[in-house]
Symmetry: D2
Subunit: 226 residues, 4 copies
Amino acid sequence: MTQRMAGKRILITRSEEYMGPACAALFRQEGGEVIADNSDLGSEAECLTVIEEAGHVDVLIVNLAAPNHYGVLATDLAEEDWLQTFELLVHPLHRLVKHALPPMIERRKGKIIVIGSATPLRPMGRLCAYSAARGAQISYVKSVGVEVARHNVQVNLIAQNWVENPAYYPPELMENEKFLKNLQEQVPLGRLAKPEEDAALALFLAGEESDFFVGQAIPFSGGWAS
Amino acid sequence: MTQRMAGKRILITRSEEYMGPACAALFRQEGGEVIADNSDLGSEAECLTVIEEAGHVDVLIVNLAAPNHYGVLATDLAEEDWLQTFELLVHPLHRLVKHALPPMIERRKGKIIVIGSATPLRPMGRLCAYSAARGAQISYVKSVGVEVARHNVQVNLIAQNWVENPAYYPPELMENEKFLKNLQEQVPLGRLAKPEEDAALALFLAGEESDFFVGQAIPFSGGWAS
Amino acid sequence: MTQRMAGKRILITRSEEYMGPACAALFRQEGGEVIADNSDLGSEAECLTVIEEAGHVDVLIVNLAAPNHYGVLATDLAEEDWLQTFELLVHPLHRLVKHALPPMIERRKGKIIVIGSATPLRPMGRLCAYSAARGAQISYVKSVGVEVARHNVQVNLIAQNWVENPAYYPPELMENEKFLKNLQEQVPLGRLAKPEEDAALALFLAGEESDFFVGQAIPFSGGWAS
Amino acid sequence: MTQRMAGKRILITRSEEYMGPACAALFRQEGGEVIADNSDLGSEAECLTVIEEAGHVDVLIVNLAAPNHYGVLATDLAEEDWLQTFELLVHPLHRLVKHALPPMIERRKGKIIVIGSATPLRPMGRLCAYSAARGAQISYVKSVGVEVARHNVQVNLIAQNWVENPAYYPPELMENEKFLKNLQEQVPLGRLAKPEEDAALALFLAGEESDFFVGQAIPFSGGWAS
């Protein structure tokens, strides 16, 4: 067994949702000390507390999730759902990054990995709030990524789609023939990724061998977007 | 003189800011009836009122502006400035589009043009909130653009940079030698665009000859981004 | 009638193929003097002759066409078909641009518009030679576009797909129900563009109002790619 | 020591040039059997021989190199240099992929990694042939990548720039102050990558943990392009 995270402390937010469990499992398996946080991240103060209580962090995995309201037309999407999407996916990103960066910059070493989405890379209708919020994440990562690279801190985003998770692909959907046919047509690889494969990309981005990745949104979608 | 907007009603928001004046002038010159609005757009109710009071609208130009806080590091950007950027640039976009679309969809005809930014297309540091918000606009337009195209309504965005305007390029900057040298190095064309050139692109997107443009973020930056 | 090309001389290559006829018709209708060339462009000497014989050229429309061999697997595509695709689509582009540029640079004025393809923007299988060649065109235009912009010469490319033309969409295909269903699913606008709409974009790019477009590959595909 | 390539046979072309030596070293260190080829690849027959003589290949690394003629204007680039660039960078790619794929498809397992360039992602002037050829590589990989994914064969490309190599960054350039200043300004990370870092990305793409990467051009440039 490799121990690629030996001696590293990894903070994972919303650790029971989205890619949280798979990332926690793999980073622990690789010898890392994982701080699995489940705070709401609903204010700057709360995010600051999460960062402060975590102490020394080598790798911050910003894992955020929200209902995607898929299927709701732009003309029907309620103001409160719109605002909530940004509250859950966008504002916590800045709050966490803002407070996690200073010690990384001071040490001239650190990795921030955002678990994002490929939906902004290949436009889908009936998904306007989620698309906009995930697009904000990508542009944020690109800007901050180039800003802090000179301090040897790398900020990148996994632009994923078609990765197994119970929120977006519940068991009943996975047995739906129409969905499976659509999956074959839409995803060149013809299957969903396992969360473990996604975590393997996060692990690659967390290691020093990928220091030259800076401010990137890396498509991870079986060929659906590129 | 051509009369490319004869018989058309064009609603321009925040019409005294950013590209508002140039668009209003050109669209009037081309024979259009321009409704120049200057509301704050700070709530869904206010946006709905703007749309309702405008009456029949053939072309909606979503022109929004905000301080870009250029030069402020991500570690220094205040929560209130972060949130305000989304309040000014992102949330009004959905509120306006949501309420402007239904009559366009019913008529099977309509154009929405968002005056956006090229900054998400070529990442810049020290610009995190603005980049994120402008990126949200782009992803929103792409999603809604493909959603409503089947109703023959076209939603597109002008992804501009290096266009003259007093907010981002005040007179004293335009005489600054270092800025002018930077302009030569950064912008292949070697100059800023006149707002009139930008308005000419908006005019092209407002006409029927560009119906095949759907959900696009069109770079307009003298070759800086592409 | 507007006369947007009055006093302009426009050279269109392979003028009986692809977008040649529609461009020739519109540019003439707008008052331009069109030189409609149908040379093979199979060597640098031949391309040089075309440019020299055309004399003063304000706008060069590089319109090239080739069999796309759609449906042929990469493992089956013959060497000769591969090479021919580059002979028809890629090498003439450089030969024409190389010799058309000097007088434009000297006059500090000129437009080159390449009629390209959107296929590199949204990958399709079973189209490897055509995709590669059209991708070479896009990268060439981006490089040369930023190179010559400082001389006030603009080089851009129309990255089109789903535009009516008898070579790629023959009449029998247009009546095929499966094709029409596919068209509805793939193209958000739900229809092909008329060649006249495509020519209108070329006209926009040929005029001074679009001088700020530099080295761009502009998607024109009804929302299929963006 | 990990043995991530244990039991694997890796064919590397032009193995003494560009990223050949670094890839060969790392893949051997990880337990792989490396076939280091140095053929000219100047015809389909020669490429076929290379593939046939290599026997069973799990991973094909298409490593091609050519003079980039950086600094030569489009108006000055000779026909023979133009054609040679495609002979060296583009045509061998198809010839190798065409003949390497069938056994991979039959086994439902295989990886092809193209060592490409980021230059098409961020346009540079005075580099037209190289940009066009590297752009052709990217579009080819995207098309073939989605085509063969259903056979569980993954084709991807490393879109690199600013990676140490004696051809593009000779020792005298590395000591040139102007170059070093330019490096600081252009590359957010502020340094060149070591070839070993590049090989680490190739290793990641060669392993099963990255099967969900399909038909992608992955920027690897220290934040220069994204």
